[in-house]
Amino acid sequence: MKILIPVDGSANSLRAVEYAIGLASALREPPTFLLLNVQWNVAAANVKLFINQDTINDYYREQGNEALRAARGLLDAANLAYQYHISIGTPAQAVVQYAEEQAVNLIVMGRQGESRLQSLLLGSVGGKVAQLASMPVMLIN
């Protein structure tokens, strides 16, 4: 079984990781965990005129690794195998795209990421993923 856990480094996303770890112990065979962090494509056309692509990728990698760090720590501490992945794009779409590519069986994620106000105004990534994904999505409060 493949479980995808998209994380953004927020407390909510870490709760999703913890929940998924708890879930693993209830399964007969240990699942494959996939961690994913999506970086907004903030450095598009205009920025590329002034900043080298390597520098931009380094930046995304640094931000992505930072967002993944705590979640990786939890899985490391539980001594579980996992893959981690950073992609660049619009979060909900990128999560679903990766989930389809990897043919995961389940997505476990926080109901809302960063702030309550933001998800109220802009909608939560979790809700959007649940809407777009073809596989079951578990939203953790």
Partner: protein, 249 residues
Amino acid sequence: MLEMLFAPQFWVDVFKIIVIDLLLSGDNAVVIALACRNLPLEQRKQGILYGVGGAIVLRIVLTFFAVSLLALPYLKLIGAILLLWIGVKLILPEDDEGGEGIKAEGNLWGAVKTIIVADFVMSLDNVLGVAGAAHGSPLLLIFGLLVSIPLIAWSSQLVLKLIDRFSWVMYAGGALLGYVAGEMLVGEDLFKPLLESQHYLHGLLPVICALAVLIIAKLLSLRAVESQPAIDLVDEHISAGQHNKNEGK
């Protein structure tokens, strides 16, 4: 000056300026963060500070420069055409080709130079939009500048998040820029005789320009590709108990 605060037109203009500032705030924050990346840690803060400061000064100078240019004959016409194009560009999906950027400089002044040059290029659209929407009111101009300054320093994701949630925001923004372009045309001395005889054009021209932006963008985007898929950057496999080796990576 105070009585204008009670005029509905004033608040309409304020709203226009906020929207233009938001949508055309540019990617300054990203460039600033990225340009300072390769600096030694102690210089990074300094670089960001100088970069933001320089960008703000530049924005102020450019805005007043644009306003005085727009007072010249014919230049309102050119400004309006540019604004129409900026409106169309806003709606069109960005092509992600992009030239090879300059390698981020390892020294403070190099980084500051990159920030200022980038800001010069990227703030032209914003400056022109705000100058147009303020139509000569110093109060509105200063207001427009004040709104744009915090946007220079942060919020690079804000616009992306807005578009993701409300995809019509870009169309509204493009139409607004077209509308402002139309208002600029109305103010062009060249057309004064025509507008005096055909008074209804005052109201009609901005609407026509707004529609023109939408139609041109629609026609051009017909050949544009569908939304881009996410790009894969990092893909790592960690087997159980392997993490000690990966420390510090």
